[in-house]
């Protein structure tokens, strides 16, 4: 599938969409497909400090708990309350279901993330094992 080019991606299957100093974070379609039916999303509270590469929450499928890794460092400004009642939205529209919004501490961190094309290639290799 073509991944939206309006954002960047991590090898842990998160996406981050940037607008100036603000960013929106979610997980990719590949992630939701691998997880299966998502039943629970645990996000940090507004005001929490995130560190790039460190876990910031969990997403749970019926069978398993998976860590979510912060694509960038910063402060959480908003969390998507709809996912508390309808976590399955992440399955039906992973790229449209944001998990949190944040202000970026160090926007240059994003330079190290994958473009849509690079992420697509990465996923193709991972799936082909």
């Amino acid at each position: 599938m073509p991944y939206p080019t309006d954002r960047k991606y991590t090898k842990e299957h998160e996406w981050i969409q940037v607008n100036g100093n603000a960013a929106t974070v979610g997980i990719t379609d590949y992630a939701q497909q691998s997880l299966g039916d998502i039943v629970f999303v645990e996000t940090p509270k507004v005001g929490a400090e995130l560190t790039a590469g460190k876990t910031f929450g969990t997403v749970e499928s019926v069978k398993a708990v998976s860590d979510l890794f912060a694509p960038a460092s910063g402060t959480v400004t908003e969390v998507n309350a709809a996912l508390a009642t309808s976590p399955e939205k992440v399955n039906s529209d992973a790229h449209g279901s944001w998990m949190l919004k944040m202000t970026l501490k160090n926007p240059s961190e994003l330079d190290g993330l994958l473009s849509a094309a690079d992420y697509e290639k990465f996923v193709a290799e991972e799936a082909g094992h």
Partner: protein, 388 residues
């Protein structure tokens, strides 16, 4: 996020495969290793599957499972009944020909070797259907503990492909494929008949889903197994049949409080703790484990298996600690998961007997936090009674 583990095609570990392995992969199933077997955990969303859809199909229509990984032991001979009575805690003398019962094989300590379905197939012939992970252990155990009886013990585990057809529409589906009179087969009875052109196929009205349904035993060659699997799916289309994997198998049995070896029952847990009293016939004066069970009952049962429902936001999972109201660790979760039909997060857990009363508030430790739960009656789900 951390990616889910999957068994890639062409894996080189010593993982066993059922005759339907290629079929599951062809259908795009997500595969996982389970007790040494490469098994489907769920089928793709693109064909209407996934754990939740598969679970709901079994509760409302019909779903099919490859359960060939389970084992089969046959005891046959003049003293077959005596042999079964010695190793099994339930009373097999109550079985008419073609009747089955749930039971367990116990160690002398009164703890579990395995749980088992005992089928009486003929005057002096019994079939024990056992768990996948305990095939070899059980066969050795049965053989070694029945030497004194005039009875042949055979391991038939590799002889069958076993397919479970489960759900309220299971009987409707199977009726299309066999000449056997399924209306005459009550729950926990078996019959034989022609199935998909195969003669004399054993079909039992048994299962592990807390629904009505059948388990069929067909020849284990790949060609026959695949043909029958696809014929069942075709016949079941009008009932909304879907293939189901181990993921939904687990959520279905959990809702029905059916034990899983290594979780609710094991070699360190006894029959009273597990709450399986009604399958243990102490009026049978001799069976392996009976003496220890008598002593254990007299000494008092210290811990009990209970059902929990989460009262605060969170999912209890296998191995999580159970805390009392003051936050002290008192027990552990044996099996925990979201329940797709009940739409709650449920668990089975061992707690001290004094905390086992329905309504007792406890906590489950989830990633360092105590999350509220309450002891509830079990089974969590009981299938609706069919009107005559």
């Amino acid at each position: 996020m951390s990616s889910a583990e999957a068994t890639p095609a062409g894996t080189t570990t010593n993982v066993r495969k059922t005759a339907l392995n290629a079929v599951h992969r062809q259908m795009g199933a997500k595969m996982v290793e389970f007790n040494g077997w490469d098994m489907p955990v769920e089928y793709p969303a693109s064909i209407g599957c996934g754990i939740i859809n598969e679970h709901m199909a079994v509760r409302t229509g019909v779903g099919i499972f490859d359960v060939s990984h389970m084992g089969d032991i046959r005891l046959a001979g003049p003293q077959a009944l005596a042999a079964v009575q010695h190793i099994s805690m339930n009373d097999a003398s109550r079985l008419a020909i073609n009747q089955a019962q749930y039971s367990a094989l116990l160690y002398p300590e009164g703890t579990f070797v395995d749980d088992v379905i005992v089928h009486r197939l003929a005057e002096d012939e019994y079939l024990l259907v056992i768990n996948a992970g305990t095939r070899e252990k059980d066969f050795s155990w049965v053989r070694d503990n029945t030497r004194q009886f005039d009875c042949a013990v055979e391991n038939l585990s590799d002889d069958f492909t076993q397919i479970a057809i489960q759900g309220p529409k299971g009987v409707n589906l199977l009726r299309k494929l066999t000449d056997a009179d399924l209306n005459a087969v009550k729950f926990y009875w078996v019959t034989r008949g022609k199935l998909c052109g195969l003669p004399n196929i054993l079909m039992g009205r048994t299962g592990y889903t807390a629904e009505d349904g059948f388990e069929i035993y067909i020849p284990a060659d790949e060609a026959t197994s695949a043909r029958v699997w696809y014929e069942i799916l075709a016949a079941g289309k009008e009932f909304g049949v879907v293939p189901c994997g181990l993921g939904s198998r687990n959520t279905l049995r959990l809702e029905g409080k059916l034990p899983l070896y290594g979780h609710e029952i094991s070699d360190t847990i006894n029959v009273w703790e597990a709450g399986l009293d009604r399958f243990c016939k102490m009026e049978k004066l001799e069976f392996v484990g009976r003496t220890a069970l008598e002593k254990a009952k007299a000494a008092g049962i210290k811990r009990s298996l209970v059902g929990l429902e989460m009262t605060e936001r969170g999912i209890a999972r296998d191995g999580y600690k159970v805390l009392d109201a003051s936050g002290r660790e008192v027990g552990y979760v044996t099996s925990g998961s979201p329940a797709p039909f009940l739409k709650k997060n449920i668990a089975l857990a061992y707690v001290p007997t004094e905390l086992a009363a329905v309504g007792t508030a406890v906590k489950v430790e989830i990633r360092g936090q105590g999350v509220g739960a309450v002891v509830v009656p079990t089974p969590f789900y009981k299938r609706p009674k069919k009107s005559a």
